[in-house]
């Protein structure tokens, strides 16, 4: 199956935007990915092995976190995994939080 790598993490996959792995489940696919590209491990997982809170993993168009079997969900060669860091932010609730002088 294919795993799509987002722009900021391609530096750890030899600039590849897609990595192909053979796996039976989502978890196995991610494990194969970090075995092939060990530097990805610390960017995807915390020290205790949990997926970092801002890293989203999608199986085709479904968030793996919300799949009934989560990372034990079975996959086929035709499936696609996407790794997507979150995008959020906004003007501060309290105006003094602005870092205008730091940028």
């Amino acid at each position: 199956m294919k795993i799509h790598i987002p722009t900021p993490l391609r530096v750890y996959t030899g600039k590849q935007d897609t990595v192909v792995v053979t796996a039976a489940t989502v978890g196995e696919a991610l494990s194969r990915l970090t075995t092939q590209h060990p530097e990805l491990q610390k960017h995807l997982y915390t020290e205790d092995g949990k997926l970092r809170s801002f890293v989203n993993v999608y199986l085709n168009d479904e968030d793996v976190r919300y799949l009934p079997e989560k990372d034990t969900t079975a996959v086929t060669e035709a499936d696609v995994l996407s790794i997507i860091p979150s995008i959020a932010g906004g003007g501060a609730a309290q105006r003094e939080e602005t870092n205008a002088n730091l940028s």
Partner: protein
């Protein structure tokens, strides 16, 4: 450096005016290169409007649904582009990154564009490059913004001279 076309520059700013008093947000697609003196150049070919899912606090927060990002990333790949940046607006607030912008910035090497919208009118637009090699040493650094080859100042003068 962030390179935009006039149409994209205006579209980003217009989006902020249209969603006022709420924050707008979107994704910038194009190509990223390292230019002279190791300057990262994010050249934007297209901008994609995204929905702000923070309906609970849309006046000072934005969030793009990851499912929408997956679709936008697919669209980029089909066009031969990458995600090279993001934009959002700060209604009645300066075009500078906030602590929340920094904490929630995770796309290293991408540009984060902020437009200040005061009383419904777009004012300053600034771009910040997320530098660093990891979450632990990342930084948002102000970067030059070029519009159709012009400096931002020159582009703003050019746009002001065009009758509405």
């Amino acid at each position: 450096m962030l390179k935009l076309t006039t149409a994209i520059y205006e579209a980003i700013r217009a989006h902020g005016e249209q969603t006022y008093p709420h924050e707008c947000c979107g994704v910038l697609l194009g190509r990223s290169q390292v230019g002279a003196n190791d300057v990262v150049v994010n050249a934007v070919e297209s901008s994609v409007r995204a929905g702000n899912t923070r309906t609970d606090s849309a006046h000072n927060r934005y969030n793009i649904a990851p499912g929408e990002l997956v679709k936008i990333q697919r669209q980029a790949r089909e066009s031969g582009w990458d995600i090279v940046g993001f934009y959002h607006s700060h209604p009645d607030h300066p075009a500078q990154w906030s602590k929340i912008d920094f904490a929630e910035a995770h796309w290293l090497g991408c540009s984060y564009v902020i437009t200040a919208v005061a009383k419904g009118v777009a004012h300053e637009t600034n771009s910040f490059l997320l530098t660093g090699a990891s979450e632990e040493n990342k930084a948002l650094e102000a970067e030059a913004l070029e519009v159709d080859g012009d400096s931002q100042e020159k582009a703003n003068e050019r746009l002001r001279s065009i009758p509405a």
